[in-house]
């Protein structure tokens, strides 16, 4: 009965358009009321309800989210994107489909400093879609490749989604998760570079003009300065010098130095607006965690995770079948719910089952993020899809067809990541994060 109230009211409120964090919170409050009505008010009383919200975000590791978001915001506002695009031009601009290749590589690099697909679409998309159209590419292909390549943002480190998974799963290393996303991210990028190459050979053989060596070196230097953020974060964590939070703080300091002092793209007067934007973005995540803490408590009291595990086990009694079903569940969920709320809702339910079947948590985390990354660019609810189409001035239907070969590459990567866990686990193992 309580589960019915909880899930029913949540779904109804969400469909009405109530923000997901509030829909979850209200459903949990109704659940608490339901207990009182059924004569069992001590399961979760008024005070416990708000206490769980407060304690749900009272966590030091969660601080990493603030710093990663702030670093991404500084980089996005500070002209890093155009320098990464310039560097990508040196590296792949001379291949057929040069601008499409630059787009993919820039997204891979930018994902390595921002950790956000939406930031990637906003920053790279604003530059590359127009440039590609001016060079003769169709606007729909330019938008499609911008969107699909942006999905690398939450997969390659630094990834806000991985930090969130580490927090939700509890007993899993942030460093392991961040490193676990490297190979899948590179595989997706390589696949998309191949699609861009084939597209170039077939429809767009022109290449970008050759650059003098000095200019090439200047561009690579400026781009690498931006990518050094990745070295700070991964280096600090993997060497055991810093926690993820501290690595994020140092990266934020470096991003400020780079964009204010070196690039001179951000002025001190811009900082309050950037900091405020980071606070809002972080708060959206934190508030979701706060309300979900109450929701999850009731679900756990009603033994829903155990019930899901039992029934899932009846369908999938080995880890591979579970992973296939999990992929399907996440792909469908991702189409309707954004990555952050989906992770917050699904991880606590799926975790006991994954542990029962011996699935490595680093593998599970990376797999979940890769799956949910599809949802960022697929209708009906795809945050990046909406932003990209708005920038390009295209209806969503216009990008579906050119996106298909790029999605096929992502699906092939998802297949590999699902059935060859070593692709995820190899790198973390080299640094001692996985046994």
């Amino acid at each position: 009965m309580i589960v019915l109230i909880l899930v029913g009211s949540f779904v109804l409120l969400m469909l009405l358009g109530v923000p997901i964090a509030f829909a979850i919170g209200i459903a949990a409050a109704l659940g608490a009321l339901g207990y009182a009505w059924m004569g069992n008010p001590f399961v979760i009383d008024n005070v416990t309800l708000v206490q769980k919200m407060l304690f749900g975000i009272n966590s030091f590791p969660l601080l990493a989210v603030v710093f990663f978001v702030f670093t991404g915001a500084v980089m996005a506002h500070g002209g890093v994107a155009k320098r990464l695009v310039a560097m990508a031009e040196v590296l792949v601009g001379r291949f057929p489909g040069g601008l499409a290749q630059i787009n993919v590589l820039s997204s891979m690099f930018f994902g390595g400093v921002s950790g956000s697909a939406v930031a990637d679409v906003s920053s790279i998309g604003r530059m590359m879609i127009g440039a590609m159209v001016a060079d003769g590419y169709s606007k729909s292909f330019a938008t499609a490749i911008t969107l699909t390549s942006a999905t690398m943002g939450p997969i390659v480190p630094p990834s806000i989604a991985m930090i969130l998974f580490a927090y939700l799963a509890g007993n899993v290393s942030v460093g392991g998760l961040l490193l676990g996303g490297v190979v899948p991210g590179i595989l997706i990028g390589l696949g998309q570079l191949i699609v861009a190459y084939v597209h170039g050979r077939l429809y767009h053989p022109t290449r970008t003009p050759a650059l003098p060596t000095a200019e090439k070196l200047r561009r690579i230097g400026a781009g690498l300065a931006g990518l050094f953020t990745l070295v700070i974060i991964l280096g600090g964590i993997t060497a055991g010098i810093t926690t993820a939070t501290e690595a994020g703080a140092i990266a934020a300091l470096y991003a400020l130095f780079l964009t204010i002092v070196v690039y001179r793209e951000i002025h001190l007067r811009d900082l309050p607006a950037i900091l405020w934007e980071s606070c809002l973005t972080t708060a959206v995540v934190l508030f979701l965690i706060a309300t979900t803490s109450v929701f999850s408590f009731i679900l756990a009291y009603e033994k829903v995770p155990a019930w899901v595990a039992e029934n899932f086990l009846a369908l999938a009694d080995d880890r591979w079948m579970l992973l296939v079903l999990l992929n399907l569940l996440l792909l469908v969920t991702g189409m309707f719910i954004d990555m952050t709320p989906a992770l917050i809702m699904i991880v606590p339910i799926i975790l006991p089952l994954a542990q029962k079947l011996g699935i490595d948590l680093v593998h599970l985390g990376v797999l979940m993020v890769v799956n949910l990354a599809f949802g960022l660019i697929t209708p009906p609810v795809g945050t990046s899809l909406f932003v990209g189409c708005r920038i390009a001035g295209l209806p969503i239907t216009a990008v579906v067809k050119p996106m298909l070969p790029l999605l096929a590459v992502m699906i092939a990567t998802l297949f590999l990541v699902t059935f060859v866990p070593e692709l995820v686990l190899w790198l973390p193992r080299q640094f001692g994060f996985v046994g």
């Binding site: 009405l16 109530v18 919170g25 708000v50 956000s116």
Partner: protein, 171 residues
């Protein structure tokens, strides 16, 4: 309605300034901790606790402002499709739901602070009321901002806050 909207703007500006001050303090504390650990090898006992409290304040205050700025993630397909009176009705229902939850946070939050706020913090000689208060205050702000939008829908649609696309969404 204009005077009420101006009051809400003022409250929003104060909440924003307070949150920015806390966020700056958070950065200063964490960076100082990293520097102290790297140089003298010692950090203050409160170096993990204070940032957590600051994070809670930042999270709840900015989440409340996020209601006014319409930054919370929502499945708004239906809301965007519905126009006219139906659209206003749906937006009104959404605001009522948010307002209701804001009241839950405010009323139950005050009860929580009254019952447990006098307990001492873990490593600093302050009472928990200083950090527990973030929740009822955020509840009050959420209630105010949801009420503002609810009234604006019917009385002054031209004054409704529009959502701004942030460059750094969490996904």
């Amino acid at each position: 309605m204009r005077a009420f909207n101006r009051l809400c703007d003022l409250v929003g500006s104060i909440a924003r300034a307070w949150t920015l001050a806390l966020a700056t303090a958070l950065f200063a504390v964490v960076i100082a901790t990293v520097v102290l650990r790297g140089t003298i090898g010692k950090v203050p006992s409160w170096s993990e606790e204070v940032p957590r409290y600051l994070l809670i304040w930042i999270g709840f205050m900015a989440a409340a402002c996020g209601v006014d700025l319409k930054e919370h993630i929502a499945l708004d397909v239906l809301l965007e499709k519905a126009g006219g009176a139906l659209g206003r009705l749906l937006h009104g229902l959404v605001d009522l739901a948010i307002l209701g939850f804001g009241l839950v946070m405010l009323v139950f939050g005050v009860q929580f602070v009254q019952e447990f706020g006098s307990d001492l913090m873990e490593s600093i000689p302050f009472r928990n009321v200083w950090y527990y208060s973030a929740l009822p205050i955020a509840g009050a702000l959420i209630t105010l901002f949801a009420l503002r939008d609810l009234l604006n829908i019917w009385l002054a649609p031209e004054l409704r806050t529009r959502r701004v696309e942030l460059l750094t969404a969490p996904d």
